[in-house]
Symmetry: C2
Subunit: 287 residues, 2 copies
């Protein structure tokens, strides 16, 4: 029986799963992200119980996805202690010697949503997570999109809301998208977590404005046919229609986009977009 | 002998050329863009003198580049009288019955620069023209990039310069990139053409700021390894180093980019990027 291994490697926890070839999950664990020696040992212990045929990894970044690079398969310049320049793919290859599909967490989620979620059968689609940070991945022509490296689209510049004079929270760029609209930006800028802010708080108008501009920019550059918005901040259900309305207004009919309720959606796979994407990528690398 | 046909279809003029398979140009003409009946008749007259084997077309847009679409090969929603929903590819197919590579003017220029210009052998690169309008095209993994449609990246939103309180000139979006940094925006906003503004005019600082933000956003979304800046506005040679310096500052070391003098360049093919790209695309569709 074919067994697929999936690792959704986040900055807080690693979610590992083993499934059969029909993607039925046999076992799934969550491992805290501490230092590589500890976390990776637990990962190897988990998968060591099975004869897994291939792995799909969706990792926090930045990572090296260029197969021609000497550091392909590494987590590169992360500030996370111990993980900087960690050879993730090399470690797993050494432990199991199996084929590995290696990409970012958001690219894996984008692939999951394209194959089995809210972008099913939409070969040009975009997945954005708005959580602690903001990150995005795209599927173009049915395959994960990378340029010279993988996108880092959470850090684009957007125009400031005229009434928003607060500082941005990104340590690199100040008021880039992540510095204005991520969960941690909302908490830092307004003194409360998003979940504790009333629906009519100005934070939501600002956040919707920034995210709508970001979707406008991504639409103009990548030309997706659907955009999926995931992550903790999107659990505030009133935010999606605000973003859709603002995007429609900002775009001003310039592109022939699908109706907003189709064009911008929440994940069809819920919080399982990443893990499902990783399993599908494990399957892809095997075939 | 193989003959290649090239049409760089702009809003003001069509540049048509015939070359041999080594891209030596045999004849080249410029035809004013009036209405399709007139312009296209002159195009057919020109190519009718040769037994052209294939065509590469780089057209003003928006155009339909989706081969599965019923209006593939059309110029779509242009306000230009007569050209709205014009079946460009169909017209040429009917006249000559030869293979046609159909893409945007900026995509063709991006391809030309990748094959023979300043992005030679750089398989992930971006070409931006800053002229009457602002438009961009990308080569990803050695091929022209399209999503569901072609990019329209000239209209992205960027943050306003704190000292720039002037209005933007884009009829759709006001102060999008094209509305702030195109040649026509500069003329409208500062009362003079860029060529007539002194080098220390604040217009250049604003323009460099907006273009640098745009390059930052494109870099984060598309991850090119090189960016080529063409078009009339870039003929002001003092602008390039201003953009490079501002981009470096804004990016704040977040991405591992090549040195700015390598990363951001002017076209290696000068004003011939488009026509060269079209000839190369004619060759590509033939092979």
């Amino acid at each position: 029986m074919t067994l697929l291994g999936s690792i959704e490697a986040g900055g807080t926890k690693f979610v590992c799963a083993v499934s059969d070839n029909a993607l039925n999950i046999i076992e799934r664990v969550s491992i805290p992200t501490t230092v590589p020696e500890e976390t990776m040992e637990a990962v190897v212990d988990f998968f060591g119980k099975y004869d897994v045929d291939s792995f799909g990894i969706g990792s926090f970044g930045p990572i090296d996805v260029n197969p021609a690079s000497e550091t392909y398969g590494y987590i590169t310049s992360t500030p996370k202690p111990g993980w900087n320049q960690f050879d993730f793919v090399g470690y797993l290859k050494k432990a199991f010697g199996k084929p590995i599909y290696w990409t970012t967490d958001v690219n894996a989620a984008a692939y999951g949503e394209y194959k089995l979620g809210a972008a099913r059968d939409i070969p040009n689609s975009l997945y954005l997570t708005i959580g602690t940070g903001v990150g995005g991945g795209a599927v173009i022509d049915g395959d994960i999109f990378n340029g010279y490296s993988h996108p880092e689209m959470g850090h684009i510049k957007v125009q400031r809301h005229p009434e928003d004079t607060g500082e941005g929270s990104c340590p690199y760029h100040g008021d880039c998208l992540e510095g204005l609209a991520s969960g941690s930006a909302i908490e830092k800028r307004f003194g409360k977590k998003g979940i504790d802010l009333p629906e009519d708080h100005e934070a939501w108008e600002f956040t919707a404005y920034y995210l709508a501009q970001a979707l406008m920019n991504y639409s103009l550059v990548l030309s997706p046919e659907r955009i999926i918005l995931g992550g903790g901040v999107m659990k505030q259900a009133h935010l999606l229609p605000m973003i859709q309305a603002k995007l429609e207004e900002l775009m001003a009919g310039y592109l022939a986009l699908p109706p907003m309720a189709e064009y911008v959606q929440i994940p069809g796979l819920g919080d399982n977009a990443g893990i499902t994407g990783c399993l599908l990528l494990a399957q892809k690398i095997l075939n």
